[in-house]
């Protein structure tokens, strides 16, 4: 026999529903407002329905900013961060299954990076590159120093800043993955004569694959959205969220909502692609497993 729901269930369910509304409500408002007619303003009521603000965004961008270059820069950076986050976290996750010198220190550093106020990291990286620049200009041979401006840039300082933010998430997810991983599969592969690489390639990776896709998702979306750590470490060319942050008070038309709808669309596409890949990868081992006995008979 099962008892009915306790009273607290209904209170908490109502709270949960309100929380979901609180999470998604504002987002839905700007999506609605971005599809207004040409007379639309920043607030309700909605004036007409059109894709006017999207075509305006596509043709003119935002005033004073080359938004599409920023868009492309952020996308490229996000992809590089994603690939590096997956590779480095995976490698380090494998390392942490064994023991190595300094493993506790490294773990401590990674956690410290995760909870370090971002402005401090950003300032530190900014200082580091400024000192490098000064040193190059003062001491480097002429062929290097002539025409040298700065080492700071999207794929140097900004990339590093992003990795200090995405890699801790990646490593923690790897820990969670291997905590639940049954090492007997791997031992079985070894007993059957697989090399470490073969065991990794054919046994470990297919099992942990879906979760590794999750690391990629974190890598891209955290980078795509990063402001605080990038702010002092980006050099001359801003990423998209940095440009957006500067536009919040200056743009007074729904074109900013159109851009918001668009970037959210990109995020949602990435999330959907990641989730679909995870489901697909999760299903594949089952299929091969059910096919195996047939082959044997």
């Amino acid at each position: 026999m099962r008892e009915g729901r306790p009273g607290s269930f209904y209170w908490l369910a109502a709270l949960f529903a309100l929380f979901v509304l609180f999470l998604y409500g504002p987002m839905i408002t700007i999506v609605l407002l971005s599809f207004q007619g040409p007379d639309g303003g920043l607030t309700f009521p909605i004036n007409g329905v059109s894709s006017h603000w999207f075509s305006k965004l596509w043709l003119d961008g935002l005033p004073n900013v080359d938004i599409w270059s920023a868009f492309a820069r952020s996308a490229r950076l996000g992809l590089v961060v994603m690939v590096l986050t997956v590779l480095l976290s995976l490698l380090a996750g494998l390392a942490y299954r064994k023991h190595f010198f300094g493993s506790d220190t490294l773990f401590f550093v990674v956690i410290a990076s995760l909870i370090m106020p971002s402005i401090v990291v950003s300032l530190g990286i900014g200082l580091e590159f400024r000192i490098i620049d000064d040193a190059v200009k003062r001491y480097a041979p002429a062929w290097l120093a002539d025409g040298y401006d700065t080492a700071m840039g999207l794929f140097t300082s900004a990339l590093g800043a992003h990795l200090t933010w995405t890699l801790p998430f990646g490593l923690l997810i790897m820990f969670a993955i291997f905590n639940r991983f049954d090492a007997r599969y791997e031992e079985a592969a070894r007993d059957l004569g697989a090399s470490p690489w073969q065991a990794l390639r054919h046994v470990v990776l297919p099992i942990i694959g879906p979760s590794v896709v999750g690391i990629g998702l974190f890598g891209f979306t955290l980078s795509w959205d990063e402001i605080a750590r990038t702010s002092q470490a980006v050099g001359y060319l801003n990423t998209l969220p940095l440009e957006l942050q500067g536009q919040t008070t200056t743009v007074t038309t729904p074109v900013i909502y159109a851009l918001g709808t668009l970037t959210t669309g990109v995020s949602l596409l990435v999330i959907a692609a990641a989730l679909a890949t995870m489901l697909l990868l999760r299903r594949r081992p089952l299929r091969t497993a059910s096919a195996a006995p047939k082959r044997a008979s």
Partner: protein
Amino acid sequence: MMERGLPAWAQALPLAVVFVVFFIVPLLLTLMVSFWNYNEYEILPDFTARNYLEAFEGCAERLLAAPPELCTTLKTYLTTLRIAVVAWLITLLLGFAIAYFLAFHVHSSSMQIVLFLVCTIPFWTSNVIRMISWIPLLGRNGLINQALQQLHLIKQPLEWLLFSEFAVVLAFVHLYTLFMIVPIFNSMMRIDRALIEAARDCGASGWQTLANVVIPLSKPGIVIGSIFVLTIVMGDFVTIGVMGGQQIASVGKMINTQMGALQFPPAAAHAVILLATVLLVIWGLTRLVDIRKEL
């Protein structure tokens, strides 16, 4: 012996290099530069306490004056702390309640995953956009003011809804409650359900079970979530900037402004002070729990 593949240290090396180059060295440089001197044009290698002294210049006199008052720096630190504590309390209560609902009231695990994803998806979208999206709701002519005026509850639109401390805290709750939900939910899922039944069989009321079983066993998650929220909020300058209409001073904003003015040594000194404050908070919280065991 069996072939072992790459040695472990070599596998961890790339990650370690990233953190040495982009985390350890920058932090050490920050500490170093906070003791450097500077003039209008450049930063000068030196060993001086000038930046720390100037940060709190006149604070002591003004505190001791009659009537005592706070200097700008102390006011900024207090504002930052106040906002952090309020945001922390709200995210903790809300995050705990949501995690409790997911862990104890949702019984099918697929439903749990779906609802959990529903909470998580906004986290993967842009924070700035999520902040901007409050403008049509909270603005002077926003939805909330319109509704309140039509209900004749107010005559003038409420000005404190947007570009205010209220808006800042609201945005923090909006953005970071998830950082509470995830670790608390994780802790709650590890609680042996038999313990809760045992508590009930022994005659404990719902509240007694909550206070004596669930909360103590959720402590690791509560601590981890609290560290996350407090450190993010205390160092924040983006949310406070956007939602405060660039009118509210926080420590993070102060550092950012000084960096913009190329005053690196004083910015570094404030970064060191901020870091010390944050570390103190974390140290206090980690006395309560061993993080490594909880993953």
